[in-house]
């Protein structure tokens, strides 16, 4: 079973249906919005995405995970638009016969999603600024290496927010 979706508005929390008697592992991952960005407090994150391509890449990644790992199901919902602190922006559910496959597939899938699905974060600050998060000049482009919460050396003016 494969399900991928990019959607605005709160994600409906996954409810286990216990339908697959052959699977001993059901792994659920939520990615939630932290309260700080580059060391500064934020109100939330604004997720920008590239329509059509983002949906296609997410679906492609899910198909690849099903081929590459011994898992029986993967569902992924990614929220876009404004997401307040504490809300989930990402929900991934993986079923497999044994836990190891689900854990490996989850680590791979989330890492690849960060690397290759055209989605970007903008921080919404209490003073009204909305600025792109993460790396820019000279920062690591590897999502596994960078720390998005580290104070950033290059503050931009508040212009051109999505």
């Amino acid at each position: 079973m494969l399900h991928t979706r990019i959607t605005e508005g709160p994600l409906a929390a996954y409810q286990s249906t216990n339908e697959s008697a052959g699977d001993g592992a059901e792994l659920v991952f939520f990615g939630r919005v932290r309260e700080t960005e580059r060391g500064s407090r934020i109100l939330g994150l604004r997720y920008e995405y590239y329509p059509t391509m983002a949906e296609a890449e997410l679906a492609r990644l899910a198909r690849q995970a099903l081929e590459q790992f011994a898992i029986s199901a993967l569902r992924c919902d990614h929220r876009v638009g404004d997401v307040p602190i504490g809300d989930a922006s990402l929900q991934v559910v993986i079923h497999s016969k044994h836990r190891a496959e689900a854990l490996q597939a989850m680590a791979w899938f989330v890492s690849e999603l960060k690397r290759s699905v055209p989605i970007w974060k903008w921080a919404i600050y209490p003073d009204g600024r909305v600025e792109p998060c993460g790396p820019c000049h000279g920062c690591s482009s590897d999502p596994e290496q960078r720390d998005d919460d580290e104070p950033h050396p290059d503050a931009h003016a508040a212009i051109g927010s999505p």
């Binding site: 990615g31 391509m53 690397r115 055209p118 970007w120 482009s141 927010s161």
Partner: protein, 81 residues
């Protein structure tokens, strides 16, 4: 020919727009669009890494030839999740 360029994240922020049309000579390639966009950025931002997509597909070869009406996306490092 005319191509539409889609801009995201830092590039969108710095150029204060989410898309633009570029007039290019016939035979232009993906790398020509990338060079045009980099030239518009402040000098300190010109070397940041991008990936390119043409008509919603990643291109590994920036020498890919463009056609009139193509959509080229400048993709800074992605940050989903």
């Amino acid at each position: 020919m005319i191509v539409t360029v889609r801009l995201f994240s830092h590039v969108r922020h710095l150029l204060e727009r989410d898309s633009m049309e570029l007039h290019l000579a016939p035979g232009s390639r993906g790398c020509d669009v990338e060079a045009r966009i980099r030239a518009l950025l402040p000098e300190a931002s010109r070397n940041q890494p991008f990936r390119l997509a043409i008509n919603h597909e990643f291109v590994s070869d920036t020498q890919a030839l463009l056609n009139d009406g193509d959509e080229v996306a400048i993709l800074p490092p992605m940050q989903g999740g």
